[in-house]
């Protein structure tokens, strides 16, 4: 600071450069704030009209100008949690295999391919879902579930293929690279000595992974899962193609549903009335808030776990 004051003229270029970068750096978080303000402002009509009941009402009827977001909030949460439930154990297993068991000639290409799963465009997942996953669910998985567990409300109803289950499965596949890659990074950050310690104390390989790897990495794993959840919450295209797009709450995973993002993708182009548009933007605002909070939580966990690792 002192130097830049006393050499004001000489270091003009320096100060100009620093100022520009600072402005750009501030611009990014400001954009976030502007988006939040914009969404709030545009959804004021429905916020005023429906207030809190926008969150609790189950009716979404653009023709009657009745808007309640509960079914899409429900659809988003259920499909995302289903995805995490399926993806988390698989991803952690993959990460453990890659870091603890696989020889390096195998770990490198497999790890790379897992990362590449994240590079496939969402719409391609959607297409694959429509032509492969949904028929498979309709003809094989769902009839089997209905037969064995059909008396549970969770698996009631006709096997349609598309629906909440299809959306959950496709989301799970899409978030596996996120959770697996991040977990792998967390595992790799654990010093080898930690593992040797466990072995030297009479741990089997599996016990070593529990004590020296999984337990040490718990908050990092939780962070990875929450980041995966954040990705699932906002994912649009593949879900829109597979969830069945009906804004109704059903206990059955076989039934069609609707998520916040699939609702927006389906309706924003044909929203005519001011109130309809406002309702959609309020859904957008909700989605923004939910994903923001989830991602902030994930950062917090990852940050805490990396802090915990550094020896004093």
């Amino acid at each position: 600071m002192i130097r830049s004051k006393s050499h004001k003229d000489i270091h003009f270029a320096d100060r100009f450069f620093a100022g520009t970068l600072q402005a750009i750096a501030w611009g990014v978080p400001l954009l976030l704030v502007f988006i939040a303000i914009f969404l709030t402002w545009k959804s004021l009509p429905t916020i005023r009209l429906f207030g809190f009941s926008f969150l609790t009402s189950q009716t979404w009827d653009p023709v009657q100008d009745q808007f309640g977001a509960l079914p899409v909030v429900y659809g988003t949460l259920v499909s995302s949690f289903l995805a995490v439930l399926l993806a988390a154990p698989i991803s952690i297993g993959v990460a453990l295999f890659l870091t603890e068991l696989a020889p390096s000639w195998l770990a490198r290409p497999v790890g790379f391919l897992v990362e590449m799963l994240a590079a496939i465009p969402s719409v391609v997942y959607g297409l694959w879902g429509i032509f492969v996953l949904a028929p498979l669910l309709r003809t094989t998985v769902q009839p089997a579930l209905a037969k064995s567990l059909g008396h549970f409300p969770l698996f009631e109803g006709p096997p349609l293929g598309v629906g909440m289950m299809a959306a959950g499965v496709i989301l799970a596949i899409m978030i596996i690279p996120t959770i697996a890659t991040l977990s792998r990074e967390v595992f790799l950050a654990i010093p080898a000595i930690q593992r040797e310690n466990a072995l030297a104390l009479g741990a089997t390989r599996w016990e070593m992974m529990q004590i020296a790897v999984l337990k040490t990495a718990r908050s990092g794993i939780l962070g990875a899962i929450i980041l995966g959840l954040g990705r699932a919450l906002g994912e649009t295209m593949a879900v829109t193609m597979l969830i069945g797009n009906r804004a109704e709450i059903s206990a059955s995973l076989l039934a069609p549903g609707q998520t916040m993002s699939s609702l927006l993708a389906n309706e924003y182009a044909e929203a005519s009335g001011e109130l309809h548009l406002s309702a959609l933007l309020e859904v957008g605002l909700l989605l923004f808030l939910v994903t923001f909070i989830i991602n902030a939580l994930a950062r917090l966990f990852v940050w805490r776990s990396t802090l915990g690792k550094s020896p004093r």
Partner: protein, 254 residues
Amino acid sequence: MEISSFFSTRDLNAWFGKTLAVRAVNMSFAENTVSAIIGPSGCGKSTFLRCLNRLHEEVPGARVNGTVLLENKNIYSKDVDPVELRRQIGMVFQKPNPFPAFSVFDNVAVGLKLAGIRKSTILKDAVERSLRMAALWDEVKDKLNDAGTSLSGGQQQRLCIARALAVEPRVLLMDEPTSALDPISTAKIEELVSELKKAVTIIIVTHNMQQAARISDQTAFFLLGDLIEYGATSQLFTAPKDNRTERYITGRFG
């Protein structure tokens, strides 16, 4: 008989890939003694130590051949389970490294829990006994539930010693246990080693020749994977038989 048959190696070779790191080493360790292994960096002393609890073979590409006898039983024979064996031959590493997610108590109890001991009274007694043996009990008895990593570096290393002692090993291997510690913590560990040999046979790898001279009964000098000389510590440091040993302990190389 001048050499006890409690714990010994016969023609022990250890490889990393194609590199022979330890060459045909024959050594015997008497029960309840402290043996020090000295030598310049890369002489194979740590690798040799890690062959004694079958930890070397866990490194990808690493290989061992030869015989290590613990009370006349070859620990490399097919019917020996390395997991079971490592409970009898404990190890303390260079850097203090308690498990970060574990409390002080759980760090000491973990070996016992791995051995299938669940009863809390047994665990409590064993934890206290081990912490007392490691001369740490008085310092941590009021913070057994704190994270193991919250202790000071010297305390953490004594915690690791307590952790290794909890399963009552016959032999305790120590791989430069004081190289990351300050002089006061080092002195405490050295004092502890002399105390512990009443209960357990100790083999310690050290960079520090004064340390070897202070705490060990026998000393071995390794050079480039070979055991050059092994004998009573007082004799090896005052009247070495091999001139390479003499040159090393007088500081002319290494």
